[in-house]
């Protein structure tokens, strides 16, 4: 199965029943597969007139109660950003798949890259929460897209699924989990607690307001403006502060639940190769080769790439003599890693922006070099 197909199958298993998209390489197979598969399960696929419309339609479908997804690549991801911010403030769950490709603008449209990492965090304007997940294989694409939907519904927030051309177009055999074994999170529906007054109030003991489906009798307003508990726009600075903080806190106070890191041979490792998504395979290969040379190397891979797993990296620092950040860009996750390392562990960097992929030998050479220097 191809990565993009696994993305669709996993999403359907998670309950996705609405997809709106616009053709763009290298994500197009996702739209194609959705157009075939969604009507088979009673869902809806629509090809919208542009990227902005597909993001808007997804949020509209979410407001109507559907688990909804769109897929795009860099240029389209840029176009979707304003509406992603709308989903953040209006707290409408949805999943945005960004199959990263090379370059700014049209760049090298068919070549791999990971240059949207910081855009995934800061693409839309204003302070806002973000959850972004990045799979490194076809089978992980399947399981992780399910997690993306679960997190979106649980925290009522858009979740960015940051994949890349390598993983999206990779074909490998995968074992499809038994649907019964899957953990699926659905939106918590609020009780009828009085007309439209409290659609945006968080009940005691909950993380987010309960969901009130459109069309079922509770009339309330949804807006991209800061709003009061009923969803009506407000100009109150106090309310803006309260709501802005609540949006950030619902993520920041639940990092243990949201963050996922994959470690490979990190036990006793002195040198950590940090990577995410499509660079993981080369990194793991280099780690294996380094171990054979007697270099105590390991791979540390954020699966949740936003929020960045700061605490988890912090815990690794004391045992490390060096970090090598490997990513298909010129240093986007490097900023996060360096910030956490804060000079306590030297951070080396391997990147590329030419549409090629970083080969294991480059990582191995760097491991040998840092190992030599650390003696």
């Amino acid at each position: 199965m191809q990565g993009n197909e696994a993305c669709v199958e996993g999403a359907i298993a998670a309950g996705m029943r609405f997809f709106a998209g616009y053709p763009i390489t290298p994500s197009t197979e996702i739209a194609e597969a959705c157009s075939v598969r969604l009507p088979q399960v009673g869902g809806h696929f629509i090809q919208m007139e542009d990227e902005l419309a597909s993001m808007a339609a997804v949020i509209g479908a979410s407001a109507a109660g559907a688990k909804a997804m769109t897929a795009t690549s860099g240029p389209g991801f840029s176009l979707k950003q304003e509406n992603i911010g709308y989903a953040c403030i209006a707290e409408l769950p949805c999943v945005i798949v960004d199959v990263q490709r090379c370059g700014p603008s049209t760049g090298l449209a068919t070549a791999p890259a990971q240059g949207d990492y910081q855009q995934a965090r800061w693409g839309t304007h204003g302070d806002h929460p973000v959850i972004a997940l990045s799979p490194s294989s076809v089978s992980e694409t399947y399981t992780l897209i399910i997690r993306a939907f679960n997190l979106a519904e649980k925290y009522r927030t858009p979740v960015i699924f940051l994949t890349d051309e390598i993983v999206a177009h990779m074909r490998e055999g995968i074992e499809i989990p038994d649907p019964e074994s899957l953990e699926i999170c659905d939106r918590r529906v609020a009780g009828n607690d009085g007309a439209y007054k409290f659609a945006y109030r968080v009940p005691e003991g909950q993380i987010v307001p309960g969901w009130k489906p459109f069309g079922e009798g509770e009339r309330y307003n949804i807006t991209g403006l800061f709003h009061d508990y009923s969803g009506f726009p407000t100009n109150s600075n106090a309310m803006a502060q309260e709501e802005g903080s609540r949006l950030l806190d619902k993520i920041n106070n639940n990092l243990a639940d949201i963050i996922q890191v994959d470690e490979y041979k990190m036990e006793g490792a002195e040198f950590a190769v940090v990577c995410f998504g499509g660079t993981a395979r080369a990194a793991a290969f280099a780690v294996d080769a380094a171990r054979e040379l007697g270099i105590r190397a390991g791979m540390w891979r954020p699966v949740t790439v936003w929020p960045f797993p700061e605490k988890e990296l912090e815990e690794k620092l004391s045992g490390l003599k060096g970090i090598i950040m490997v990513e298909h860009n010129y240093g986007q996750m490097l900023r996060e890693v360096s910030r956490v390392a804060a000079g306590r562990v030297k951070v080396e960097f391997i990147g590329c922006i030419d549409g090629t992929i970083i080969e294991p030998v480059r990582i191995l050479d760097k491991l040998r070099e840092v190992h030599e220097n650390a003696k």
Partner: protein, 283 residues
């Protein structure tokens, strides 16, 4: 206390609204309320009120959604029709009404407008067309007449305006009509028919903006602008009977086009049924 109708259908704790004195949007919003009320109370085919969704974009017009006591969604600038399409497709049982402005639907959102027309998705778009960007203080819009002034066209607008209803009809909308602020009963009836119409309907309603458009263009206050509408807004037949040289400022009120085309969500439902049946056979 307001009238029973306003009390029943608007969020009165947020009234009076933010629109300026004499703004046509208040009148058009009232028209929308009366149109929906008559459909909710239609003895033959009542529309359940809880199934009505109001969607709007950004601008003066789009503040209407928040005041209307339905499921309402105030979205991003230009994208109301795209959001509304997602709502309607995900739950075709809903009656979805979009309230938008000339800038919102014909400039930044023009692409969504023409494609929704082409798709013939069952939405009703009510355009509060005040020929200016009011919320930002009077910049010229895609419907500001040529030569008129705005804060970004102090020497007069150079480009030609859109006729939004004609644009929608050309793009394939199956119901297009024009109303205005002065002709209240006629406009309400057009909105009512538009909502009842199965397929994409657009009612281009000439609003009035005395604050930014009227004053800048020496068109007077709200009263003078409505008097102008009274004189120039003609029933379709009367307008068509005029020789072109006498049309000048005159405009046609009423239904401009009405066709029966297959509706998008109903057509897609057929695809779902076919795909599910085929998938069932595989098993």
């Amino acid at each position: 206390m307001p009238s029973e109708l306003i009390y029943n259908y608007m969020r009165i704790d947020h009234l009076p609204h933010i629109w300026c004195a004499g703004c046509g949007n208040g009148v058009l919003t009232h028209d929308v309320v009366r149109a929906i009320d008559s459909l909710c109370n239609d003895p033959d085919r009542p529309i359940p009120r809880e199934k009505v969704v109001i969607v709007s974009g950004i601008g003066c017009s789009s503040r209407a959604a928040g005041y209307l006591d339905f499921n309402s969604m105030h979205t991003t600038h230009g994208r109301a029709i795209a959001f509304a399409s997602g709502i309607k497709i995900a739950n075709p049982e809903l009656t979805v009404v979009v309230i938008t402005g000339d800038g919102d639907c014909a400039a930044i959102g023009g692409n969504h407008l023409i494609h929704a027309c082409r798709r013939n998705i069952d939405l009703t778009v009510v355009v509060f067309n005040n020929e200016i960007y009011g919320m930002t203080g009077g910049q010229y819009s895609p419907t500001t007449p040529r030569g008129d002034k705005g804060t970004t066209a102090v020497y007069g607008v150079v480009d030609r305006p859109f006729d939004i209803a004609a644009l929608a009809a050309g793009a394939g909308a199956s119901f297009t009509a024009r109303g205005d602020v002065y002709h209240v009963k006629e406009t309400t009836e057009l909105i009512r028919q538009g909502i009842r119409h199965k397929g994409f309907s657009l009612i281009d309603c000439r609003s009035v903006c005395p604050t930014y458009y009227g004053r800048k263009n020496k068109k007077g206050d709200a009263v003078q602008m409505l008097k102008w509408q009274k004189e120039n807004g003609l029933p379709m037949k009367q307008y068509r009977a005029l020789p072109p040289e006498q049309r000048a400022d005159k405009y046609a009120l009423g239904i401009l086009s009405r066709n029966e085309y297959p509706e998008y969500t109903e057509e897609y439902q057929k695809i779902i049924e076919m795909a599910m049946a085929e998938k069932g056979k595989e098993k």
